[in-house]
């Protein structure tokens, strides 16, 4: 089983639209994972049925029992996150500031502080509109630990792929270089970098590739909206060749992507087009490279 992860560094380069196209083309030969749990959108095109749903608990938050508290202030003193201010003569934990380290609970002389598990979101196992299995999630509002939810989604996806004896796992990653991306990348066999020829696109591509290289994973690149700026496109091509990154394909600047999306469809099911042909070739190439 090979795990293919699609990431971009910069958001809005077309990562999810392209991943959905591959998920459509891959059909039942793959299992799909949406690891962009912060702003998951893949379900809008793959129409999973949300057949199985489970809550995800991760991390803890301090809670002070005011009846037991003697207001000694030790908790606020040790808290490095300024999460326990005095409000109306009471020490009160601010959930958005609390990191869940539990230091306050350990030093409380009267055991007034308990650490409560946090429901940070829900995750789902679904069947998509093409009949493939898909694991996806929704992170709770302002929740932490998105990296752990990503790890959960990925592990479930791998289990399903093994059980169903599928050859490929296709993962939609998240933007950035932080913990959710690190979680998306761990264990991957091949990374597809989706970029665009803009000053931000190439800047973010270089940063995220540095992370990919730390993991030692082979990578290929799709340049979306490639005809938008030929100067930057050439810079990207040069960067790819200097770093032995496979140039998988160029896609044109094409608003049909948006029209298909508005229809709840991937671009490869939205009539015959040049883009469809390129994406079919790209998917075949990625399977070979993975």
């Amino acid at each position: 089983m090979k795990e293919i992860v699609v990431i971009s560094g910069k958001g809005g380069t077309g990562k999810t639209s392209i991943t959905a196209s591959f998920a459509y083309l891959g059909g039942k030969e793959i299992v799909v994972a949406d690891c962009d749990v912060d702003a998951a959108d893949l379900h809008l095109l793959m129409l999973p049925d949300f057949a199985k749903s489970e809550e995800f608990y991760s991390g803890v938050i301090a809670k002070i029992d005011q009846d037991v508290c003697t207001k000694c202030g030790k908790c606020a003193e040790v808290c490095r996150f300024d999460a326990i201010p005095v409000i109306n003569y009471q020490y009160v934990v601010q959930p958005l500031d609390c990191e869940g380290c539990g230091y306050c609970a350990r030093v409380c002389p009267v055991d007034a502080i308990t650490m409560e598990s946090q429901n940070v979101g829900d995750w789902y196992i679904s069947t998509t509109k093409v009949g493939s299995s898909m694991v996806h999630a929704r992170l709770g509002i302002g929740a932490e630990n998105s990296g752990k939810l990503v790890a959960k989604v990925k592990n479930e996806t791998k289990n399903i792929a093994e059980k169903q004896d599928k050859k490929y796992v296709l993962v939609d990653g998240s933007p950035g270089i932080g913990c959710p991306v690190v979680s998306s990348l761990s264990g991957a066999n091949f990374v597809v970098l989706v970029t665009e020829p803009t000053v931000s696109g190439i800047h973010d591509l270089k940063r995220v590739y540095e992370l990919v290289r730390k993991f030692g994973i082979n990578a290929g690149c799709i340049i979306n909206k490639a005809d938008l700026n030929s100067t930057v496109e050439k810079e990207i091509l040069q960067f790819l060749s200097e770093n032995d990154i496979d140039h998988i394909a160029n896609l044109p600047y094409d608003e049909t992507f948006t029209q298909a999306m508005t229809n709840g469809q991937t671009i490869v099911e939205f009539g015959e087009s040049k883009v469809k042909e390129i994406l079919e070739q790209s998917w075949n190439k990625i399977k070979e490279l993975a």
Binding site: K10, G11, G12, T13, T16, D38, A39, D41, L44, G59, V60, V78, R80, F81, L96, E99, G100, C101, G102, Y103, R106, V107, M115, L139, I141, G142, A143, E144, S146, G147, S174, P175, G176, I177, G178, C179, P180, V182, E196, P197, T198, V199, S200, G201, H203, D204, R207, E210, L211, K214, K225, L228, N229, T231, V232, Y253, E255, T258, M261, T262
Partner: protein, 288 residues
Amino acid sequence: MKIAIASGKGGTGKTTLSTNLALLLAETEKVILTDLDVEEPNSGLFIKGNLIHQEEKFKMVPQWNSEKCALCGNCQKVCNFHAVIQLVDQIIVFPELCHSCYACSELCPTNSLPMIPQKMGELREYQLDDLTFIESRLDIGQEQAVPLIAQTNKYVDEKYSDEIIKLYDAPPGTSCPVIEVTKDADFVILVTEPTPFGLHDLTLAVETMRELDKKFGVVVNRYGIGNDDVIDYCESEKIPVIAKISNSRRIAELYSRGSLLYREIPAVKDELVKVLDFVKGNLARGEM
């Protein structure tokens, strides 16, 4: 006054709005723009100022001192993040998992885990006429954006008064880094695009802002593509649509080169003026 520019979905135009707004404002008054998308900071690609200050940013992590250690295992027990592990006769620290809570260090009976600074990124400050531009960049391999965002916020707060308009370019999403950027803002501008992805992620961002009890409004970018669902949603939720920036290939091309839009396209400047009027109108009425 602090104004954060956020989105749910990435690539909707946060940086475009932040940089254009900041430079337009700076034509008439002092303004500070801070790029807090520390994982992928892009505002600096559009602003060419003079570097006036630069500093490395550190987070504190424990370092094991084997001489005094009694191998009691307390550090491993108190670490909720599995960042300190005891393996037979040694203690191993995983700095990338450490949240700098100091519990292991301060609760160690033999003081064998002193906290030492570890570099996590860099802050740079630039000046371009009346615009002060500050950005922080997270080092590759560092997983946590929040500590760097918090330290950058502190730097800006200590150096500049809140009398000056402060703009903040936020990271995408709705999780902890976004909360860290928006929790102290007086107003949040949510940038979206009129597509199903844009709408879906906007609803998540709106829920987040309501949870934080923030005042916010929406700027619709790439207006004209997709459908009217975003506009209908804002209307039914009584969310002000402050401005609409039209979809055009010309704008995409200018952006791709790192050019500022409002100096080339008068219609974009008109929309930015609407944003400024809205924000300043709220300020004048004492609503921020």
